[in-house]
């Protein structure tokens, strides 16, 4: 009965102050929820971008080679064959990037730090140049031998600039240290925690350092066209690599450098292939998103409880004020169910309008803060994966949040509405006001 909507809206307008206060509160909570949700989505997106540029492919085909049971190297031997298997069996592949991997000490004249070494071919990295922003230097210089790209914070700690030479010193399985000299050719802006632990150099430099031949590769970063296909693609790869004769490691959602210990303790030699997803490789940092989401949910839950109490309260008042009207409508033949709908519709209308408004505010606020490029303190940058506050619009999560708020407020309105429906029609006659 559309008239019930009309009555609801007109009553809301009639009690403008009450509606605005309550609606404002609902809108405020929605705004906060949407704002924080967008932040969480933003961090998630930044994390995904940074991680899949620096740290991992969508799927990583890596593994360990063991000469003896206790000595492992994080490499895939004869990697081009593996690449062929991947290309042949997985139609979803967009491209495959071979990455050298290592873990070493980076030493300058004044200081030193630990970093993951990434061997790359700058000309075969489609998005590398788009995602990283250079402070100084030149990406293309990385195609020259014995060069290195480091990040801003590293450069500061090492006190080096473009053109300076740093020493990479890696501890070999036999206990000796291998070193190579590399020339800093580019300094990139930090992108969260990944940039603190990564330096990029040509493949040849990694091979030189570890004295391995160029048939070996740290990992193959597989980028796929449809990220939603990832679990399926993982299955396909696991199957086809097994069929191609490779021994697969059990799936283990941890970053490769944590796996050394357990791999060294295992009793096998030769090559094993380890399949991981991008999420596995950054599992150690995912608590950031969990924390933002946790704060969001706790905060909105508390505020939602307050709002729910507010709705109940305001509806008790409204029902009290409108006792005579309810009695009249019951007397002239309105069924209880309709009386109940009348009040539920009123609560729903207020809540829906307020939530919609709040969502628009929340998205606007997120958009504005995003556009202001507000600088994040260095400490927080590590975990927010970006040097400015970044927000991202996630349609599904926005709709979801709105549904929760509208749902909770409408549901709670059932209680006072039920009481309104139980009012006796005789009250119409008894109230003489």
């Amino acid at each position: 009965m559309s008239q019930l909507f009309l009555i609801a809206i007109r009553n809301l307008i009639q009690h403008r102050k009450r509606s605005l206060m309550l609606g404002g509160a609902i809108a405020g909570v929605t705004m906060l929820l949407i704002f924080l949700t967008s932040l969480s989505s933003g961090v998630r997106k930044a994390m995904f971008e940074a991680a899949t540029t620096i740290q991992t492919g969508h799927i990583n085909v890596a593994g360990f080679y063991k000469v003896t049971a206790g000595r492992s190297a994080p490499i895939v031997t004869d990697y081009k064959k593996v690449m062929e298997v991947i290309k042949k069996s997985l139609p979803d592949v967009e491209y495959i990037v071979p990455r050298g991997r290592g873990w070493a000490r980076v030493v300058s004249d004044t200081s030193s730090l630990q970093a993951g070494l990434a061997g790359i071919d700058i000309n075969q990295e489609p998005y590398f140049k788009n995602v990283l922003h250079l402070e100084s230097g030149d990406f293309n210089a990385l195609s020259e031998p014995h060069t290195v790209l480091i990040f801003e914070a590293q450069a500061k700690r090492l006190n080096v600039k473009v053109g300076d030479v740093i020493v990479i010193s890696a501890l070999m399985p036999n206990g000796t240290n291998n070193t190579i000299d590399l020339r800093v050719v580019a300094i990139a802006q930090d992108v969260g925690i990944f940039s603190n632990f990564s330096v990029f150099m040509p493949h040849q430099s990694v091979n030189d350092l570890y004295q391995i031949n160029s048939n070996n590769m740290g990992a193959l970063y597989v980028y796929i066209k449809n990220i939603k296909q990832l679990p399926k693609d993982m299955d396909i790869l696991r199957k086809s690599l097994t069929e191609a004769g490779y021994t697969m490691m059990d799936s283990d959602p941890r970053v490769f450098w944590i796996k050394f210990d357990s791999v060294n303790r295992e009793d096998w030699t030769g090559q094993k292939i380890d399949l991981t997803t991008w999420e596995d490789e950054i599992s150690f940092i995912k608590w950031t998103i969990t924390a933002i989401d946790g704060i969001t949910y706790i905060l909105t839950s508390i505020l939602l409880i307050i709002i729910v109490i507010g709705i109940m309260n305001s509806m008790w008042i409204a029902i009290n004020e409108r006792t005579r009207e309810i009695g009249t409508l019951r007397a002239i033949g309105m069924q209880r169910r309709r009386v109940m709908s009348m009040f539920v519709i009123e609560a729903f209308t207020l809540s829906a309008l307020a939530t919609l408004t709040g969502a628009v505010w929340g998205l606007l606020l997120a958009g504005i803060v995003h556009a202001l490029h507000i600088h994040i303190p260095t400490g927080a940058q590590m975990f927010l994966m970006s040097n400015t506050l970044k927000f991202s619009f996630d349609f599904f999560r926005v709709i979801n949040g709105m549904f929760v708020i509208i749902g909770a407020t409408t549901l709670i309105s059932l209680i006072p509405s039920l009481r309104a429906a139980r009012l006796k029609p005789i009250t119409a006659m008894q109230h003489n006001g």
Binding site: L6, G333, M429
Partner: protein
């Protein structure tokens, strides 16, 4: 003659703390279709209680209240609501219009509850009625933009819109000045004649009750007598709008079966 209302040995008690108020005592009466009845009596005599029982908004403590051949004792809340919607129209002392709806929407509302007729039909029926009660020019106004008399006209139209068999009006003129009150009663009378709707209204105003075909006198919860209002009427009628009455008078057919002291 068809009876639309019949009460048999009806008692209504209210429990107030430790005492019981006997608001109605052994009331029996029969109302025929098309009658125009006034329930008269001083304040506290039980007029409202009686109308509430007839209007199916309250249940008798004992006895039978039969409306449109249905004993209200046997009906669920749902069925009673249906009965009120389809068989009874209400006119209240303080008008009781829905303040956020326009005059038109207020009158249309019972039709929407019924959900039986189309938009166009609703529109013509409501506008016709508004015309009949002389308020068609205010159809878009809200109730609070109208005078008391105008509001009661809207209420009358709302009560009539579903073409009920019975219209109940509890002191419909109590909140109006006496002149407006009389025009409202005249209007009710006119509708009674045109639509053949049974009207039962209460009042303690002698001038108002004089318009009725039949007056049921009630005191202390008991019916104490009735008058076929012919004599009073002619004397009072001259001051009112002067119309009709001759044929309706003969219709008066309230039979009183209550104990009279």
């Amino acid at each position: 003659m068809e009876n639309v209302v019949s009460l048999e040995q009806v008692n209504k008690n209210y429990i107030l703390g430790k005492t019981t108020v006997n608001a109605l005592r052994n009331v029996s009466l029969v109302v025929a279709k098309g009658d125009f009845i006034s329930i008269a009596g001083p304040s506290g005599s039980g007029k409202t209680t009686l109308l509430n029982l007839i209007g199916c908004v309250d249940i008798a403590t004992s006895g039978h209240v039969i409306i449109n051949d249905q004993d209200t004792h046997d009906l669920s809340d749902r069925q009673l609501t249906e009965l009120r919607l389809n068989t009874i129209g209400f006119i209240f002392q303080s008008f009781n219009l829905v303040s956020v709806l326009s005059v038109f929407q207020n009158v249309e509302f019972p039709l929407l509850l019924q959900g039986k007729i189309s938009v166009e039909e609703r529109k013509t029926r409501v506008m016709d009625l508004l015309k009949k009660v002389g308020i068609e020019n205010h159809s878009k106004h809200r109730p609070n933009e109208l005078s008391g008399g105008q509001r009661q006209r809207v209420a009358i139209a709302r009560a009539l819109v579903t073409r009920p068999k019975i219209i109940l009006a509890d002191e419909p003129t109590a909140n109006l000045d006496s002149k407006t009150g009389e025009t409202i009663i005249d209007l009710m009378k006119e509708m009674n004649e045109q639509e053949k709707t049974t009207f039962i209204f209460s009042t303690h105003d002698a001038r108002v009750m004089a318009h009725a075909n039949t007056i049921i006198n009630i005191a202390d919860g008991q019916i104490v007598g009735n008058q076929m209002a012919d004599k009073n009427k002619s004397s009072v009628k001259t001051s009112a709008k002067s119309k009709k009455t001759d044929k309706t008078k003969s219709k008066s057919s309230v039979k009183l079966q209550g104990k009279t002291k």
